[in-house]
């Protein structure tokens, strides 16, 4: 275990920015992706059958017009030179059955085929999309579960924003990918069906027309190459535009106080000009390309007439055949255009896929005991550190031989300069990191033998920047624990002086808190965090006291609430305020990861050691007033 955790700690997450392979088609990635589609493979299969059907029905529509109507009915050709897929016979049958003119029968036939196409096409798209949606939903859920259960050591190294985009943007790009693939299927299957029929009518003409494809393909390719770079520049300039404006608005007061309006406008102008330059450039390219693809289809019409005319005179083609070719042109060329449109999406999606699987491969975790101890209903709350050594990196030790005991119900204040290891100590107590050098005991039970889940239920943590969940205030206090009733939540809030501000809110305990609790002041958030801990009633309280000074009123409420919260509860307080320290039963002084001193406030002051120095430095002004 020692080795593996050390390895995990050493792992480098700089690969966040690492170049991904960037291939358009990464087969191993697709294979891995297919694993999530597997449960929905039947739907997927049905969808594949439906697209074949729909494509055939799509191709039949021009066949009816050219072969049935023009060749068979109008020109009365007896010998069909173009494949009719049984439509001529079907039309004659219909006309006989209903006793109507063949033209009317053709109308009816066309209508039936059209409806059939519409229905099967819709069914195809819906079966495809539903299997994709379900598969991606599962993938996203698995990804979320995976990230939700990564340990703190993981989140120490990664930027939350970057991890977040894997669940949102990257999965989103996969939707785009699969949707893109769906579109391509919808274009290319009819393409091949049409191609088959064209080959059956006239191989030469078909091959001549196919010559256009490489031309279109390469123009499309070069266009996409050129625009990819341009689009990136456009996107970048747009985002710097937005960023500049956003920042300028957020800091407008500073801008105005510094009289920077004119300077900032000219800076904004240059970004805006840059954006305009790229926009105009890509507009120029895009308009050329758009006009080009339309033209190719029209040129093909000329080719068909020219060549088809000769073939017809020689008796190799019927008029309907020639017309059929003109009707197929779109089916032949459109897929190339669509393919061009989709490549950028494919590129981005492949990169996204790689990032998602990369995230799923981060396997760092906290080691859980194979045979966890069952904790008693209520712990006494004795905490003992024994010869604990710890470092986040192997070679940098943060804690050295930390040994001390906190008696049940005792209030211990930890003081020490920044970086002395205070936060690390409480993190280890919550087992947010694996440690193997030394031990921590809770009521005499080795922490490494308790499942982290059971352990953390017994330790209430209030961090400096306490997280507020979006939801109502009540939900934020109860945190989904069904044992905490509304009455209990209100009682807890009342005890820690949070009831006052909560009842002034328009909806009281049902007030929805916005993301990260922005509609609460810092002091109010602190009180709410207290209420949450008090309601959960853990045996041990861990508090990282906020450093920022708050207005005196709120400060008083917090101090009072803290007193009630620690009453009769084993408490470990990383203290920044003199009053908190003075009210603690003992003070532990930490320096460079070592326990320097431990004793009551008075004892340590009298001893004249490090605490004395720290105290006189840090609380000089406050002491001034006590003198």
């Amino acid at each position: 275990m020692a080795e593996s955790s050390a390895r995990a700690r050493r792992r480098d997450y700089s690969m966040f920015d690492a170049e991904l392979s960037g291939a358009v088609l990464n087969l191993s990635l697709l294979r891995r992706l297919l694993r999530w589609m597997k449960p929905y493979r039947v739907t997927f299969g049905v969808s594949a059958i439906l697209i074949l059907l729909a494509s055939t029905l799509q191709v039949l529509q021009p066949v009816i017009i050219s072969v049935v109507v023009i060749d068979h009915i109008i020109r009365q050709e007896t010998e069909t030179l173009a494949p009719d897929l049984g439509m001529v016979e079907l039309n004659d049958y219909l006309s006989g059955l209903l006793d109507v003119h063949p033209l009317l029968a053709a109308c009816l036939l066309f209508a039936i085929v059209y409806i059939g196409w519409a229905v099967t096409g819709h069914a195809h798209r819906m079966t495809l999309i539903s299997s994709v949606i379900n598969g991606l939903r599962d993938l996203r859920q698995d990804l979320f579960r995976h990230l939700e259960t990564r340990p703190s050591s993981f989140y120490d190294r990664v930027a939350v924003g970057r991890v977040m985009t894997r669940v949102t943007n990257d999965v989103e790009a996969l939707y785009e990918l699969l949707r893109g693939i769906g579109t391509l299927i919808g274009e290319f299957v009819p393409f091949f069906v049409a191609l088959t029929i064209m080959l059956a009518i006239d191989v030469h003409l078909t091959l001549i027309l196919l010559l256009v494809l490489p031309v279109m393909g390469s123009v499309t390719y070069f266009f996409r190459q050129a625009t990819r770079q341009l689009f990136r520049l456009v996107r970048m300039s747009v985002s710097s535009l937005n960023q500049y404006m956003q920042e300028n608005l957020a800091g407008l007061q500073v801008v105005q106080l510094s009289d920077r309006q004119a300077e900032n406008l000219s800076r904004y102008t240059s970004i805006n000009e840059e954006n305009r330059r790229w926009e105009l450039k890509s507009a120029r390219l895009e308009t050329l390309y758009g006009a080009f693809t339309d033209s190719m289809a029209h040129i093909a019409l000329g080719v068909i007439i020219w060549y088809g005319g000769g073939e017809m005179v020689q008796g190799n083609m019927s008029l309907g055949g020639v017309i059929l070719f003109t009707r197929f042109i779109d089916m032949l060329f459109h897929p190339i255009v669509v393919l061009g449109e989709q490549t950028n999406i494919l590129f981005r999606a492949m990169a996204s896929g790689e990032r998602i699987f990369q995230a799923l491969d981060w396997d760092e975790k906290i080691h859980e005991p194979s045979d966890p101890v069952t904790l008693p209903e209520r712990l006494r709350g004795e905490v003992r550190f024994e010869h604990l050594d710890f470092g986040y990196d192997e070679d940098v030790r943060i804690l050295h031989d930390v040994t001390f005991t906190i008696e049940p119900g005792e209030k211990l204040a930890i003081v020490g300069p920044t970086g002395s290891g205070k936060s690390t100590m409480i993190r280890l107590l919550g087992r947010f990191y694996d440690f193997d050098d030394g031990q921590i005991f809770l009521d005499g039970i080795d922490l490494n033998r308790i499942h982290t889940r059971d352990l953390r239920r017994r330790i209430g943590v209030v961090l400096q920047d306490f997280h507020i969940f979006s939801g109502t205030i009540y939900e934020n206090i109860a945190l989904g624990d069904p044992r905490i009733t509304r009455e209990m939540a209100i009682e807890a809030a009342r005890r820690v002086n949070a009831h006052g501000f909560i009842s002034t809110l328009p909806k009281g305990y049902d007030t929805e808190l916005s993301e990260r609790g922005q509609n609460l002041s810092q002091g109010q958030r602190q009180l709410l965090a207290f209420a949450r801990v008090l309601a959960a009633d853990p045996e041990i309280l861990v508090l990282d006291e906020a450093t920022a000074s708050i207005d005196t009123e709120t400060e008083l409420l917090i101090q009072d609430a803290l007193r009630k919260l620690t009453e009769g509860r084993t408490s470990i307080l990383i203290a920044h305020r003199l009053q908190t320290i003075q009210e603690a039963s003992r003070v532990l002084v930490l320096q460079n990861g070592r326990v320097e001193e431990l004793g009551t406030h008075e004892e340590l002051l009298a001893a004249g050691g490090l605490y004395h120095t720290l105290h006189s430095l840090q609380f000089q002004s406050e002491r001034e007033q006590t003198d």
Binding site: A283, G302, R456
Partner: protein, 586 residues
């Protein structure tokens, strides 16, 4: 709707020739395009008759293609570039307008709202010009030219094709509305999902400490499913559209097969013309399909235009009208006479009848609870708020008589919120004047106790701060904004609660440095700590927008009022009775 769009006139006028000629060129392009089916019909009919004289139709098609290609590329570019240019101008105007707004504007609008206007609303106007115009032009031209050719070929068949067209239009309009609703829903669900993930990952330590992982994973399934459902709904509407949109074209095709086929058999129409008809129907129906979309483009751009002009038509909140009687260098005597101020939209005044005299070189501390008017008072000094004339005088001259830039550079206000730009520290410290010398920067950093912090960064003064760079702690940010204020060596320095995240020791250190540096210069500072205020020449206690106590530390302690009480609480800690005293709800 048209009235709203008409407001854009001023922005479009400079490009009217560009846009106009683009629109005209589109008509020519459509004509070229419409020639193709005609020529195709001739070709087919010649083939059908066994006549191999195909040069005219084939060469004609090629010529039409080349003509169309040239004209269309030019036309599209002219129109699109007009859109790009208009949006460039709009952005410039908006940025300029926003820079002159003040606090009452930001009370009404959020930054997010402004960003939406700058991004989405301008994009809508651009799309209207670049895309809406093109589509509208195509719609008109294609219909006119397409029908023209069809009428020429066969009036009776053309008339028979007319009735279904309005249906295309109405169906398209209905469908595009449905699609808009569905895609809005997808966006909303997506942003729920993003919020959910963001919230979870940023609170991951709390979640794990509170053993909430399973609960959160289950909750996420709900968000995830809601998004999937919305996405499915959108896909369904899109797919239905794709299936039924061509219906009307199909109805037209059936008409052509039936009636057109009959005409061909009667010899009134040729087979080639029948094929041409099929192509013209496509040409005419296609624009009708997008008609709904065009309408919605116009509607949305009208709303966007209203929203843009709501901001563009605002006047600067603070008027800069220097009278010329102000001295060029402020010495630092401040008089406030009977100053009352009420924020727009509020009933209770934020300041009532303030009278105050501050002599050059004095250090004044201001204390008071949240909302007592401290910040409002300080803002009046530099006219961040619309200071009423005849109330605030500096060196005997009304502040409204000073040029704004002089007032704000010689009265340096360091605001409460420590805002730093996402730029190198150096640019942040010299924000008002990027040309400051390096030793000046270091001197200010030293006074603000920021020197060692900067020296700890590998890139020193070139360290980029903020999201894209190094995240500073609250205290570091406050010290950096303080340094930004100190560097100006202004005759009057105003510090609005700039030490709240700085520890007391550092604060003491900075304050003693300040007393040394700012001898004979005026300093005003707001604080919550008695320890900060006690060494000032004078302490003001504000409550409910009034100055309720005024004097030195000793005087106020003797007086036994609010200040004395604050001092006692901060010294001894609170007891039960203090809650009653502070009126704090228990």
């Amino acid at each position: 709707m048209l009235k709203s769009l008409f407001r854009l006139k001023g922005f479009v006028t400079p490009y009217r020739w560009r846009l106009g000629s683009g629109i005209l060129a589109f008509g020519v392009a459509r004509f070229f395009e419409a020639l193709v089916p005609m020529l195709l019909a001739i070709g087919i009919d010649r083939i059908a008759a066994g006549n191999l004289d195909l040069l005219l139709p084939v060469a004609g098609i090629f010529a039409a293609v080349v003509g169309r290609f040239t004209v269309v590329s030019v036309a599209r570019y002219l129109v699109r570039s007009s859109g790009i240019r208009v949006s460039f101008d709009l952005r410039q105007a908006l940025f300029d307008a926003l820079q002159h707004q003040g606090s009452s504007f930001f009370n009404r609008y959020t930054i997010g709202d402004m960003m939406t206007r700058a991004v989405a609303d301008i994009a809508l106007v651009q799309r209207l010009i670049a895309m809406g115009t093109i589509l509208l032009v195509i719609l008109v031209y294609a219909t006119l030219i397409g029908f023209g050719f069809m009428l020429y070929l066969s009036p009776s068949l053309t008339l028979l094709l007319l009735p279904p067209l309005p249906f295309v239009f109405f169906y398209a309009r209905w469908a595009s509305h449905q699609m808009a609703v569905a895609s809005k829903d997808v966006q909303d669900r997506m942003s729920d999902l993003a919020d959910h993930v963001q919230e979870n990952l940023s609170g991951i330590r709390t979640i794990q400490a509170m053993v909430q992982e399973d609960h959160e994973i289950a909750r996420f399934l709900g968000t995830n499913q809601a998004y999937s459902n919305a996405f499915y709904q959108q896909a369904r509407i899109n797919s239905l559209m794709a299936a039924w949109m061509p219906t009307l074209a199909a109805v037209c095709s059936i008409t052509i097969i039936g009636y057109g086929g009959y005409l061909v058999m009667e010899g009134e129409l040729s087979a080639g013309q029948l094929v041409a008809f099929l192509m013209y129907v496509n040409m005419v129906v296609q624009p009708f399909r997008v008609a709904g979309f065009v309408i919605s483009l116009f509607q949305r751009a009208a709303v966007a235009s209203d929203r843009l002009f709501e901001v563009l038509s605002l006047h600067p909140e603070i008027t800069d009208a220097p009278t010329g009687d102000a001295p060029s260098l402020i010495r630092g005597n401040i008089e406030i006479r009977n100053l009352s101020f009420t924020y727009p939209g509020y009933e209770t005044p934020a300041l009532s009848e303030i009278d105050l005299d501050i002599r050059q070189g004095e250090r004044i501390s201001i204390m008071g609870r949240v909302g007592s008017g401290k910040t409002t008072l300080l803002r009046q000094l530099v006219r961040l708020l619309d200071t009423p004339p005849g109330t605030v005088f500096i060196d005997g001259v009304d502040v409204t008589h000073y040029p704004l830039s002089q007032l704000r550079s010689q009265v340096a206000l360091v605001p409460q919120d420590p805002f730093l730009f996402g730029e190198p520290l150096k640019s942040n410290l010299t924000y008002d004047d990027p040309n400051r010398a390096l030793d000046q920067i270091w001197a200010a950093a030293t006074s603000a106790d920021l020197k060692e912090t900067i020296e700890d960064f590998p890139e020193q003064l070139d360290t980029v701060v903020g999201e894209r760079g190094v995240t500073l702690s609250g205290g570091q940010k406050q010290r950096a904004t303080l340094a930004r204020g100190l560097i100006r060596q202004a005759p009057v320095l105003v510090l609005d609660d700039c030490f709240s995240s700085v520890d007391t020791e550092t604060e003491e250190h900075i304050l003693s440095e300040l007393s040394r540096l700012r001898r004979n210069q005026t300093t005003l500072l707001v604080s919550h700590r008695v320890s900060t205020a006690r060494h000032s020449d004078r302490i003001l206690i504000m409550d409910g927008g009034r100055i309720v106590e005024e004097g030195t530390h000793e005087e106020l302690i003797r007086r036994g009022g609010l200040y004395a009480e604050l001092e006692r609480i901060q010294r001894e800690g609170a007891d039960e009775t203090d809650y009653d005293f502070l009126g704090a709800p228990g």
